[in-house]
């Protein structure tokens, strides 16, 4: 079976080959459809660059990048994205923010008005799962940081993308809110069964959420270690104190230590 996402010895330099140190060097990985993969590594190591390669936003110098069997050569519309900043539009309500992708995307904008009722129902459905029921009409500045991030996740998922790319989506939140949102993301993923690539520097977050964790080296980023996480789902905050969970986090911790020292 071919993988859903496949990077084969990919090298990428910002501004094109020959423009200084590559951000990503000879990185190879394979992600199956429906799999939840996390990438961890020291900051500035090129984790985010790998996301940009997968999404088609950054051209590669060499190697091969394939998503769903097709070579990536331009932005992919089947992708949903969320970042550390929620980047909600302040003049739109929560509901209108969630609907934005459908208004502008290549595949939905023509039918948006016709199917608006169905889209709004889908948005309500998502907002309910993430616990924002009743906040549809609120402006972003009336929401807390955690709530904004929940809305941002809904916006990333409203067009039912096959692939969700998350770039440290919970990094700016306090610890309690962050752990709460792990549960929210897990629930979304278990219900909708999309493929996820999560970039994070929080090892507990990676182990809690992912089926598999990749460790990325210092810049230029390369994949130095791969660890399947075979814990049963749904995982809970209690399970993060289990021996298995703690051992996995420690194992990753050691690898990160080696990478940072190298």
């Amino acid at each position: 079976m071919t993988s859903f996402v496949e990077l084969d010895r990919v090298t990428m330099t910002y501004g094109g080959a020959g423009n200084g140190t590559p951000a990503v060097a000879e990185a190879s990985l394979k992600i199956d459809r429906g799999e939840f993969v996390a990438m961890v590594g020291p900051s500035g190591c090129g984790k985010s660059s790998i996301l940009k390669i997968v999404s088609g936003l950054m051209p590669i110098d060499s190697g091969a990048a394939r998503v769903d069997g097709q070579a990536v050569n331009g932005p992919l519309t089947m992708v949903g994205m969320a970042f550390q900043n929620a980047t909600l539009l302040p003049w739109r309500t929560t509901l209108e923010n969630v609907l934005l992708p459908l208004e502008v995307s290549k595949t939905h904008r023509r039918s948006f008005r016709r199917k608006k009722a169905a889209h709004i129902a889908a948005a309500h459905d998502l907002l309910k799962i993430v616990g924002l029921e009743g906040y549809e009409g609120h402006a972003p500045h009336e929401l807390s940081g955690g709530m904004q991030q929940r809305a941002s996740l809904c916006r990333a998922l409203i067009h039912a993308p096959d692939l969700l790319l998350l770039d440290e989506p919970f990094a700016a939140l306090d610890a309690f809110t962050r752990e709460e949102l792990w549960g929210v993301l897990q629930e979304l993923w278990m219900r909708k069964k999309f493929t996820v690539v999560l970039v994070t520097h929080d090892l507990r977050e990676a182990v809690y959420l992912a089926d598999r964790v990749y460790v990325v080296s210092k810049r230029p980023g390369r994949i130095v270690y791969e660890r399947p996480i075979a814990l049963p789902r749904p995982r809970t905050l209690e399970s993060t104190f289990d021996g298995n969970f703690v051992d996995l986090v420690h194992g990753l911790r050691d690898h990160i230590g080696e990478v940072r020292a190298a």
């Binding site: 936003l57 932005p75 539009l89 992708p101 502008v104």
Partner: protein, 253 residues
Amino acid sequence: MISAIKLAPWLATIGLFVIWELACRAFAIPEFILPAPSQAIAALIEYWPAIWQNAFYTFWVTLFGFGLAVVFGLALGLVTGASALVYAAVYPMLVGFNSIPKVAIVPVLVVWFGIGTVPAVLTAFTISFFPIVVNVATGLATLEPELRDVLRSLGARKIDILLKVGLPRSMPYFFASLKVAVTLAFVGTVISETVAGNAGMGHLMLTASSSFRVPLVFAGLLVIAAMGVGMYAIFAVIERRFVGWAFRGGEGV
């Protein structure tokens, strides 16, 4: 109870006038050098019909020039803000043009259009045009890179990004610039009327000062200032009304 913040501008303004009045009396400054506010206000009442007529004229000329600046400023701002190429091409030219003292182009406008309303409208236009362009272009050009990535990956068209994200985002900048631009427009009109006019506040004040009726000149200045403050306040209200979302937590939300 009225808050101190609301009272402050009135008290400060009255305070200024009181100090000015007292200084004029204490140092016995002749009224053809610096008239006291009471003398300026006396002149204002005495010459009210002439002042009213000229103020009315100046007001509409200013508003007309300002209106042109809004339309063309918004249009050029959108074009320059939406395209990095146009921005790079046009921006130095705009800065250069803005650096030219507008009083220097009035004679040229007079050669082209004759003395009267047209040079005044165009001077008001040229002086208030720049801040509008710059602000709209800045608002458009400051799209967050993450959001740009989201929109690109959705395959959004440039026009959609412009209408749904860029334009609303630039509106707070636009409305902020209107407040500044409208006061500049008054400057432009009065400059033109002073250099080459046959009506308006500039013309009135030039005539008054050439016959040493300095209190009348100051009456004119007060009227222009009042019109400027009034228009500024009107656009501040409009700003709150249309882009209240940009004032998070303020009373405008």
